[in-house]
C-alpha cells in the first residue's frame, strides 16, 4: 500500500514537473523564436512579415561605411553562396575586432518600417576558431 502511494506521489510530481516544463518551453517557443535566414532567403520573403530575424552572410567590401569616432557601420550583407544577392544593414553598436570586409557575420534585428534596410541590434562575427574555414580567412588577413 505504501509503495503504491509512493508511486502516485512520484507520478503527480512528474506531471507537475512536465506541466511546468511544457509551459515554459511553449511560452519560449512562441515568444523567443526568430527566423534564421541567409540573405537570399530573407530577400525571398515578405519583409513586413519577417519581423525579428537572425541573418547570416558576409560583409561586402563595397559600400561599407564606418564613421570614424562613431560606433557602428552601414554595409551590404551578401549571401554566402550567391554573392550577387545582398541587403543593406545598419548597425549602431560596437564593432567586433574581427569585423572587416569579407568576414562572415551574424546580425540580429528587424527590417526598418519601410523595409529598405535591416536594422541590427546585435552583430557578431563568426568566432575565428581553429577549425578549417577561418584558416583561409586568416591567411588572407596576414599582412
Amino acid at each position: 500500500m505504501a509503495k503504491n502511494s509512493n508511486k502516485i506521489v512520484y507520478a503527480v510530481a512528474l506531471v507537475l514537473f512536465l506541466g511546468g516544463l511544457g509551459y515554459l518551453i511553449f511560452s519560449g517557443l512562441t515568444q523567443d523564436s526568430v527566423y534564421f535566414l541567409n540573405v537570399s532567403e530573407a530577400l525571398a520573403e515578405d519583409r513586413a512579415e519577417i519581423g525579428s530575424a537572425r541573418l547570416f552572410g558576409k560583409v561586402s567590401p563595397q559600400n561599407l561605411a564606418v564613421v570614424d569616432g562613431k560606433l557602428g557601420a552601414d554595409f551590404d550583407l551578401i549571401d554566402k553562396l550567391e554573392p550577387g544577392k545582398s541587403l543593406r544593414v545598419s548597425y549602431r553598436g560596437a564593432l567586433p575586432d574581427t569585423f572587416e570586409p569579407g568576414v562572415e557575420v551574424i546580425v540580429e534585428g528587424a527590417f526598418s518600417s519601410g523595409g529598405g534596410e535591416f536594422v541590427a541590434r546585435t552583430l557578431v562575427t563568426k568566432c575565428p576558431s581553429k577549425y578549417e574555414e577561418q584558416s583561409k580567412q586568416m591567411e588572407e588577413g596576414k599582412g
Partner: protein, 632 residues
C-alpha cells in the same frame, strides 16, 4: 614520416576492430581464456596510436610544413607553447587527441583494481565495446580527418594560429573538454558490458572514479571556455547560448544526472537500468556534441567547417542508441526496487536528476530548433538567448532549492534534523524578501540568489550540527562541489540580469558615468615591438566611486606581427568580489578620441570561483578501489 604516421593509425584501426570482434565472439561463447590475448593486444594497438601522435608532435615542434596539419595550424612566429597546443588546435589533431586519450585510458583501466574485480566475461564485453569505439575514431582519422596529409613541395611558413586563440584559456579549454568526453568512454562501456554480461559487481562502483574524473574535466573545460569568452572574445559575457557552447553543456547535464542516480543504486540497489541508460546516453551526447560542432548542421558563431564526418557521426549515434536500448531492455539479473518516499533524500536525488535531464533536453531542443522547425516551415526558425534564460533559469533555481533541503531529509523519508530544516527555510524566506526589497525585482533571479544563500547556510549548518561530517574527506568533497555550484548560481543570478553595459566615445580628460561609477579617460600610450605585438595602444581609464579612486583599467588594442590587417582588443578590468568593472577599447579616432565599451558585472567572479571550487574539490571524491580479495 607522413606515411609512417598514417600506417600507425591504420595498424591500430585494424587491430582494434579485429580485437573487438574477437572479444565479442569470445564473450558470446564464454571463452574466457581469450581475455589475456585481448588485453595485451589492446596495449599493442594503443601503442600504434601513441606512435602516430608522437610523429605528429615531432612534425609540429620541428615546424615541418610538409604536414598539411602543421601548415594549417602553426607558423614560424608562433611560440613553442602554442605550437604544442596545436596538437589539439585543429580539427584532425583534436580528433587524434581525443582518440589517444581513450587509448591511454584503456591502458590505465586494465591495470586498475576496479577492472580486475570484474568477471572475465564482463571484461570481454567491455573490450568489445571499448575497442569498437576506438576503431570508429580511427576510421574517421584514416579517412575524412587524416592528420598526416603531405604537401609537396613543403611551404616555408604556415598559416599559423589566430591571435584570439593565443590565450591561456585556449591552451587548457579544448583539451579539458576532450579529456572529459574521452574518459566517459570507460564508464559507458563498463555499464553496457556489466549489463549484458549480468555482472554481479556493480559497475557504478567500478567506474566511479572514471565517471567523476570525466565530469571534473568536462566541467573545467566548460568553465574555462566561459572565462575565455568573457576575457578574450568580447561576446558580451561568458555564455551566449551559442550552439557550440551548448554542445559541451548537453552531455554535462546527463553526466551530472547520472552522478546523482548512481548514488541511489549504490545505497539502495535501485535504478539499475536507468543508470546504464544514462551513462551510455552521456557518452552518446559527447559524440552528439562533436556532431553539432563539425557537421555544419547548425550555423554557429564558430566556424568549424564541414568535414565529411557528419554522416559517420550521425550513424554512429543511431547505432549506439539502438545498442544501448537493446542492452538496457534485454539484459537480465537486474533487481527491481521501488523508490522511497518522494520527500526523502532519495526522492530529491531523483527529482534533481529529472531537472538536470530536462535542462539537457531544453538546451538540445533549442539548439536543434532550426533543424526541427524545418519539418513544418521552409523558413528556418531559431531560438534566441531569451528562450534558454526563460526555461533554464527557473529550473536552475529549483535545483539549488532542492539542494537546500535535501541534506536535511532522511534516506527513506521524513525530516532528519528539524533544526536545520527550519533554519534553512527561514533563511530562504528572509533572504528572498531582502533581495527583492533591495531592488532585485526579477523574481527568478531573487529566488536563485535566495536559494543560493540558503544553500550556503545549509552547508554550514550541516557541518556545525553533525561533527561526524567533519571527519570524512568524502563529505567535504560532496558539499564542497555543491558549494561551488551554489556560488556559481549566485554569480549567475546577479551578473546575468543585472549587468550594466554602455558604450562611450571620450576625449582625453572626459568622463562618463555608468551605474554610479565615474569613468575618466586620462591617457593613451602607444608602443610596439613587444614580443609578437607589432603595435599597441593602451588607454588609461580611472574609475571613481563617490569621488574616490577605486582603480585603473588599462584596455588595449593590439596589432600582431603576422596579422597586420586586423586589430585585437585586450580587456581591462578592476576585479572585485562585488562589482567587477570591465572595459574594452573599441577604437581610436583621428581627433584623439577613443571609443570604449564599459560594463559593470555584479558578482561575476563568483562564477569563476564557484566553477573552480567544483572542479578542484571534486578530486576529494575519488576513492581507491580495494584490490580483489583486499578488505576495506
Amino acid at each position: 614520416m607522413h606515411l609512417t604516421g598514417y600506417v600507425g593509425l591504420l595498424f591500430s584501426l585494424l587491430a582494434f576492430l579485429s580485437l573487438a570482434g574477437f572479444a565479442g565472439v569470445a564473450a558470446w561463447n564464454r571463452r574466457e581464456s581469450a581475455l589475456p590475448f585481448v588485453e595485451k593486444g589492446q596495449l599493442i594497438a594503443a601503442g600504434g596510436v601513441l606512435f602516430s601522435t608522437v610523429i605528429l608532435l615531432i612534425g609540429l615542434t620541428s615546424r615541418d610544413y610538409s604536414f598539411k596539419y602543421v601548415y594549417d595550424n602553426v607558423d614560424n612566429a608562433l611560440s613553442f607553447v602554442y605550437t604544442l597546443t596545436a596538437l589539439w588546435g585543429g580539427r584532425e589533431g583534436s580528433l587524434l587527441f581525443w582518440e589517444v586519450i581513450i587509448a591511454v585510458s584503456g591502458m590505465v583501466f586494465v591495470a586498475t583494481p576496479g577492472y580486475k574485480s570484474l568477471a572475465s566475461n564482463t571484461k570481454l564485453f567491455f573490450w568489445m565495446f571499448f575497442l569498437a569505439v576506438q576503431g570508429f575514431f580511427l576510421f574517421l582519422l584514416t579517412s575524412w580527418s587524416n592528420p598526416f596529409i603531405e604537401i609537396i613541395p613543403a611551404p616555408h611558413d604556415g598559416r599559423g594560429l589566430n591571435p584570439l586563440l593565443r590565450n591561456p584559456g585556449m591552451i587548457f579549454h579544448p583539451p579539458l573538454l576532450f579529456l572529459g568526453f574521452a574518459l566517459y568512454t570507460i564508464p559507458a562501456c563498463a555499464a553496457l558490458a556489466s549489463s549484458i554480461a549480468g555482472e554481479t559487481k556493480s559497475w557504478v562502483t567500478v567506474a566511479r572514479n572514471w565517471n567523476i574524473l570525466s565530469w571534473i574535466f568536462l566541467t573545467a573545460g566548460i568553465v574555462l571556455g566561459g572565462w575565455w569568452s568573457y576575457m578574450e572574445l568580447g561576446w558580451g559575457g561568458y555564455w551566449a547560448w551559442d550552439p557550440v557552447e551548448n554542445a559541451s553543456l548537453i552531455p554535462w547535464f546527463a553526466g551530472t544526472a547520472v552522478l546523482h542516480t548512481a548514488v541511489i543504486e549504490k545505497r539502495r540497489n535501485a535504478l539499475q537500468r536507468t543508470n546504464v541508460f544514462l551513462m551510455s546516453l552521456t557518452f552518446l551526447l559527447c559524440i552528439f556534441s562533436t556532431y553539432l560542432t563539425r557537421s555544419g548542421v547548425i550555423d554557429s558563431l564558430h566556424t568549424f567547417g564541414e568535414s565529411g564526418v557528419a554522416q559517420p557521426l550521425f550513424w554512429s549515434m543511431v547505432s549506439w542508441m539502438v545498442l544501448t536500448l537493446l542492452v538496457v531492455f534485454l539484459s537480465e539479473r537486474l533487481t527491481h526496487r521501488t523508490l522511497s518516499d518522494f520527500l526523502s533524500r532519495q526522492g530529491m536525488l531523483v527529482i534533481a536528476a529529472w531537472f538536470l535531464l530536462a535542462l539537457g533536453m531544453v538546451v538540445t531542443l533549442g539548439t536543434m530548433w532550426p533543424v526541427i522547425s524545418q519539418l513544418w516551415t521552409t523558413k528556418s526558425l531559431g531560438l534566441d538567448a531569451n528562450f534558454y534564460n526563460r526555461v533554464c533559469l527557473p529550473f536552475m533555481s529549483f535545483l539549488v532549492l532542492i539542494f537546500c533541503f535535501c541534506p536535511w531529509l532522511g534516506w527513506k523519508g521524513g525530516i532528519r534534523d528539524k533544526r536545520g530544516f527550519i533554519g534553512v527555510s527561514a533563511v530562504l524566506v528572509i533572504s528572498f524578501v531582502a533581495f527583492y526589497l533591495s531592488g532585485m525585482t526579477n523574481v527568478v533571479a531573487a529566488l536563485t540568489a535566495a536559494a543560493s544563500t540558503a544553500a550556503i547556510v545549509s552547508i554550514v549548518l550541516l557541518f556545525v550540527f553533525n561533527p561526524a561530517l567533519r571527519r570524512g574527506r568524502h563529505n567535504f568533497g560532496v558539499y564542497g562541489v555543491h558549494l561551488g555550484l551554489v556560488l556559481m548560481a549566485l554569480g549567475i543570478a546577479f551578473s546575468g540580469p543585472y549587468k550594466v553595459e554602455q558604450e562611450f566615445v571620450l576625449a582625453k580628460g572626459e568622463s562618463a558615468v555608468i551605474d554610479g561609477y565615474t569613468v575618466t579617460f586620462t591617457d593613451l600610450v602607444q608602443d610596439g615591438d613587444v614580443g609578437d605585438i607589432k603595435l599597441r595602444a593602451t588607454a588609461t581609464l580611472e574609475v571613481y566611486d563617490d569621488g574616490r579612486l577605486i582603480g585603473i583599467m588599462l584596455p588595449e588594442k593590439r596589432i600582431y606581427k603576422n596579422y597586420e590587417r586586423q586589430q585585437y582588443a585586450e580587456v581591462g578590468t578592476i576585479p572585485g568580489l562585488g562589482d567587477e568593472l570591465y572595459s574594452t577599447l573599441l577604437g581610436l579616432t583621428e581627433d584623439d578620441k577613443a571609443s570604449f565599451k564599459v560594463s559593470v558585472n555584479p558578482l561575476v567572479n563568483w562564477v569563476w570561483i564557484g566553477g573552480t571550487l567544483m572542479c578542484v574539490i571534486a578530486f576529494l571524491l575519488l576513492r581507491r578501489m580495494p584490490r580483489p580479495g583486499e578488505g576495506r
